[in-house]
């Protein structure tokens, strides 16, 4: 065995280990939610974060609305972050720019009753991998970071259900506005709080 073959023999397991590490990192990166959302959560310590997994969202659907179940079918998990707009260092333009730098592309914008909605998506391999809604009103920015996808024909419906008065949105609102209180038994299971990435 010459010197080149010997060095290859030594390097092969190291390269294999490196390849496994890189592949693992890629899988973790692909399955994690946006870095910008994580950064926002760290930057704004007073922000409130809520985690919904597919089964949690299903449980919130107490009225068994089949359309809502269909809409959330391909959502793996969803993080809701609420940030006060008067927090130090808050800059909406920078936040949108950071999401765009993560390949989030704007698909729809809307303004209704003093609320601005910006909906983005991120694709991987030509398929929708993540969706994002930035909703801001006079006082707060709501970041809805979704891993998974929503039928494009139901995107508008999903966000209006989440925003407007409906059984599902009122349940979420109750959790959000009374996050330090225990929900009533009648309200069903709530979203999980804390870091679940």
């Amino acid at each position: 065995m010459n010197a080149t073959e010997k060095s290859r023999e030594i390097l092969r397991p190291m390269l294999r280990a490196l390849l496994v590490m890189l592949m693992s990192a890629a899988v973790i990166a692909a399955s994690a939610q946006s870095r910008t959302t994580e950064k926002l959560e760290d930057q704004f310590e007073d922000s409130r974060a809520f985690f919904f997994y597919n089964n949690t969202l299903r449980m919130i659907n107490q009225a068994d609305d089949p359309e809502f179940d269909e809409i959330i079918r391909d959502i793996e998990k969803m993080k809701l972050l609420i940030i006060r707009k008067n927090a130090e260092g808050f800059d909406l333009k920078n936040i949108a720019r950071d999401y765009k730098s993560e390949d989030f592309e704007e698909i729809m914008t809307s303004r209704h009753k003093g609320r601005n909605f910006d909906i983005f998506l991120r694709e991987e391999g030509g398929k929708t991998r993540a969706m994002l809604a930035l909703v801001n009103d006079e006082d707060n920015l709501f970041v809805l970071d979704i891993l998974g996808s929503i039928d494009p024909g139901k995107v508008a419906k999903f966000f209006s259900v989440m925003d407007e008065e409906s059984d599902i949105s009122s349940r979420i609102r109750n959790f959000v506005t009374n996050d330090r209180e225990e929900p009533d038994d009648d309200d069903g299971p709530g979203p999980e709080k804390g870091n679940h990435d």
Binding site: E105, E106, I107, M108, T109, S110, R111, H112, K113, G114, L121, G126, K127, T128, D151, P152, G153, K154, V155, A156, K157, S160
Partner: protein, 181 residues
Amino acid sequence: MNSKTIGMTAIMVITTVSAFAQSDAITKFFNKYATDESFTQVTVSSKMFSLFTEMEAETPEDKEVLEAISKLKGLRILAKDDTRDARTLYQEAFTLIPAADYEELMSVRDDNKDMKFMIRENGGKIAELLMVLGGADEFMVLSLFGEIDLKQISRIGRRMNVSGLENLEKMNKKPNSKENK
């Protein structure tokens, strides 16, 4: 490829893109009220429409609708509810719409609301569908642009599920209505 060919290609691309874009007059109208918080605004990008090509059609009818949606390039809606200015805005919209560019397709009067549907053609294809609605206290302008298949328009409205598009269904219900010309 020489510079002349590149120049010609660039001009053709720009011409094609602008053919399926909104007319300048309508853009100006939207921009005029862009910062007015009392208006509801919706903008849908071509990316959103292209997502429909990812979907699997369950029926041949569904396939036709998805194909029609994937040819759209954009949607803009400007609306105002509970307003006394609805009639004034309705009139203002028509002063800004260049009559030479648009052909009136139909007018509908429904529940004290007037609706006019207009189209702008380019190269024999419908490049923009414009709907202007004026009621006693509500106003809306809807501009859908891209390559538009009028036969699919009411189904597109239902499939997209965007508030405001349901008015497009009126086009199939009263195809020859000219009640408010």
